[in-house]
């Protein structure tokens, strides 16, 4: 598989103006390497503050990494000039969680979609309108909605508008940051189905960021699990979900509420004593999960684990023997 997008050792910190640590800005992303193949759905899962959204935004240069590189079809995003970056923006798009805040409330939704065509294509205004109407139909909205404003729509419909806007320029990659988290239960499946069918028709790649493990397990080809700014495990989705290697991945999967009584009973024995508050994160030199890890070794407090291969997945954990080729 050709890598569409390849990120190496991304590092990002924010601020540094906090009262308590005026001199130290905490790293939000600590050396993330990740790649997306053409037409692939890559899931990124993790909890609040894990750095998922920051990584997603760095991948399409909505924020600049402090260190590390992102290459799109071999070309370094940081070295792109204004024109190249604009061309890149047509090919790599983003869908945000809340369509109410990602769409301009004063602008007709048709114009919101047309805007990206105006920026990235030289279609005449009639052709643009035609194309927008076509896009609206394609995402399951009526073309007559062109002149309506965001407040006239439900959240699910607006997210369809956001999808139409994202695919308007026939992108190669769409970063979807929690695209259904703000939607009602019965609407989520509709939007997910729309994303899936567009992906198979148009062959785009998705970076699908979500805290919802069942959802990522359902749609992603590959999954990366993030914890406190680093990827702790990545691999084929089936591999990661069926045979999780990293203790954090196991904890995450064990925490998902299950509908099935038998599955629930099967795992209740393997569950940690959950009512207890986990130890606060250790800001020391070792693995960032060590304070919560039931299997921690002495080495875990001393050394940050590097990525290694175990059972076909890449995992950053000292429980597995390291090998030098894993991160190459």
């Amino acid at each position: 598989m050709t890598a569409l997008l390849e990120a190496q050792d991304l590092v990002k910190s924010f601020g540094g103006t906090g009262r308590r640590r005026a001199d130290r800005s905490p790293q939000v992303v600590k050396g993330v390497s990740i790649s997306v193949a053409k037409g692939e759905i890559l899931g990124i899962v993790g909890e609040t503050g894990a750095g998922k959204s920051t990584v997603g935004r760095m991948l399409i240069r909505l924020i600049e990494p402090d260190q590390g590189t992102v290459r799109f079809l071999g070309e370094d995003l940081a070295s792109m000039d204004r024109h190249e970056l604009r061309r890149f923006r047509a090919r790599a798009r983003m869908i945000f969680q809340d369509p109410f805040s990602s769409l301009d409330p004063m602008m007709a939704i048709g114009n919101s979609v047309a805007e990206s065509l105006l920026l990235h294509t030289d279609l005449s205004s009639e052709k643009r309108q035609e194309r927008v109407e076509d896009l609206l139909e394609r995402v399951g909205l009526n073309a007559r909605y062109y002149a309506r404003h965001p407040h006239e729509f439900s959240g699910g419909q607006l997210q369809r508008v956001a999808v139409a806007r994202a695919i308007a320029t026939n992108p190669d990659l769409v970063v979807c940051d929690e695209p259904v988290a703000a939607l009602d239960m019965s609407i989520r499946a509709q939007v997910i189905n729309l994303l899936l069918s567009l992906q198979s028709e148009l062959g785009m790649a998705y970076v699908f960021i979500s805290h919802d493990l069942s959802l990522v397990g359902h749609i992603a080809h590959r999954t990366a699990v993030m914890y406190r700014g680093a990827i702790v495990e990545q691999g084929q989705t089936e591999q990661v979900f069926k045979d999780p290697q990293h203790p954090y991945t196991r904890e995450l999967l064990n925490s998902v509420p299950l509908l099935d009584a038998q599955l629930r009973a099967a795992r209740s024995s393997s569950r940690p004593e959950s009512a207890r508050v986990p130890a606060p994160p250790d800001e020391g030199t070792g693995c960032s999960y060590v304070g919560r890890c039931p299997l921690a070794l002495p080495l875990c407090t001393q050394q940050v684990p590097q990525m290694r291969t175990s059972h076909g997945a890449e995992v950053a954990c000292h429980l597995y023997p390291s090998n030098k080729t894993a991160t190459s």
Binding site: D184, S186, A189, L196, L213, A275
Partner: protein, 344 residues
């Protein structure tokens, strides 16, 4: 020693009195275009020590139902327009505000989705808990403080005594929810209303908070009304579940029963739309259309425009919520003939 036991057996089994009995509750809100009904004839009850889930999407009326029970609608433009709410046999809808205020916290407590917004940022968490303890348990300052620390400890806050003076911003989301629980339970209420208590929390934190809630319930014999949209949470924590749609309960049963064999097409649709692990690329089974907003509910069964099984009768009249099979209520004309799949 056998005699008293025998005597007890001879007496007719008393029907257990529910702790909370909501009957035909109706709530409407004043709007520019006149009053709009949001809760339309909701009936359910909760036994002592039981957990009932109220499941629904936004606009279904589940949170408004909770607010009506605890008497918080008086502070909005919402109004109870009919029905009754009985707590331990006592009618709450007509209770004067002063008495209701005494009940809130001491008999019925409530926790919300955003714990940080429910705590006052300008006071230490300990003092906020102690204030509730002092008011409802009639304790001295010192005893209230001791009781607050005890409670913080009980909800699993490490080094509770040291953290008494910390402010809400010094706690994480999960810890704030624990603080809220400590405050809600400090005066030994008998009913806890928890409105999406773990929705804003991460999944590992959610698992811990739910486990804690279960432990506290056992210790204190609490009844819980859990409002949620997450059927997984229902499966893990609740005895019974009532599904709400467009202001009405459309199905009610034991949680296990409803999940395994739903009788209302809406419940079935919700269950089917949940992504299952490891089914990559498969389309999800989606319910078509969108949730109708209050004020524009359709004629007939409110779910019929989105229902795959709708027939003419469904467009004409609203089905009653009726007990049709053992312990299982549904509001569907076709429930008996349909055999709907649930969780396998």
């Amino acid at each position: 020693m056998t005699r008293p036991v025998e005597l007890r057996h001879e007496a007719p089994a008393p029907t257990p009195q529910p702790l909370l009995a909501v009957e035909d509750l109706r709530v409407s809100f004043g709007t520019d275009v006149g009053p709009v009904t949001v809760v339309d004839g909701v009936t359910f009850s909760i036994q002592p020590g039981e957990t009932l889930a109220l499941v629904g999407e936004s606009g279904s009326g589940k949170s408004v139902t909770a607010m009506a029970i605890i008497g918080l609608l008086r502070h909005s433009n919402g109004r109870i327009t009919g029905g009754s709410v009985r707590f331990d046999g006592r009618e709450l809808t007509t209770l004067p505000e002063k008495q209701l205020r005494t009940m809130r916290g001491s008999s019925i407590s409530m926790i919300f989705q955003e714990p940080r917004r429910s705590l006052d940022p300008a006071f230490s968490v300990g003092s906020q808990i102690a204030e509730v303890a002092a008011r409802h348990l009639d304790l001295s300052r010192r005893d209230a403080r001791r009781r607050a620390i005890e409670m913080l400890d009980r909800v699993g806050i490490p080094a509770a005594a040291q953290r008494f003076g910390d402010y809400p911003h010094e706690f994480s989301g999960g810890m704030c929810q624990r603080v809220m629980l400590a405050m809600a339970l400090v005066a030994n209420p008998r009913l806890l209303i928890a409105d999406e208590p773990t929705t804003a929390l991460d999944v590992t934190v959610q698992a811990r908070v739910l486990r804690l809630l279960g432990d506290l319930q056992q210790e204190m014999g609490l009844s819980i009304l859990l409002i949620t949209h997450d059927l997984g949470v229902v499966a893990e924590t609740c005895d019974r579940v009532a599904v709400m749609y467009a202001g009405q309960i459309v199905e009610e049963a034991a949680a296990e029963t409803l999940l395994r064999s739903p009788r209302h097409p809406y419940s079935e649709g919700l269950l089917a739309s949940l992504p299952q692990f490891l089914d990559p690329g498969q389309r999800l089974v989606a319910i078509s259309g969108s949730v109708p907003i209050p004020g524009s509910w359709p004629q007939g069964c409110r779910f019929h425009p989105r229902c795959d099984y709708a027939v003419d009768a469904c467009r004409e009249a609203i089905p009653e919520l009726a007990l049709k099979v053992d312990g299982h209520h549904d509001r569907c004309f076709r429930a008996d003939e349909l055999s709907l799949p649930g969780v396998s």
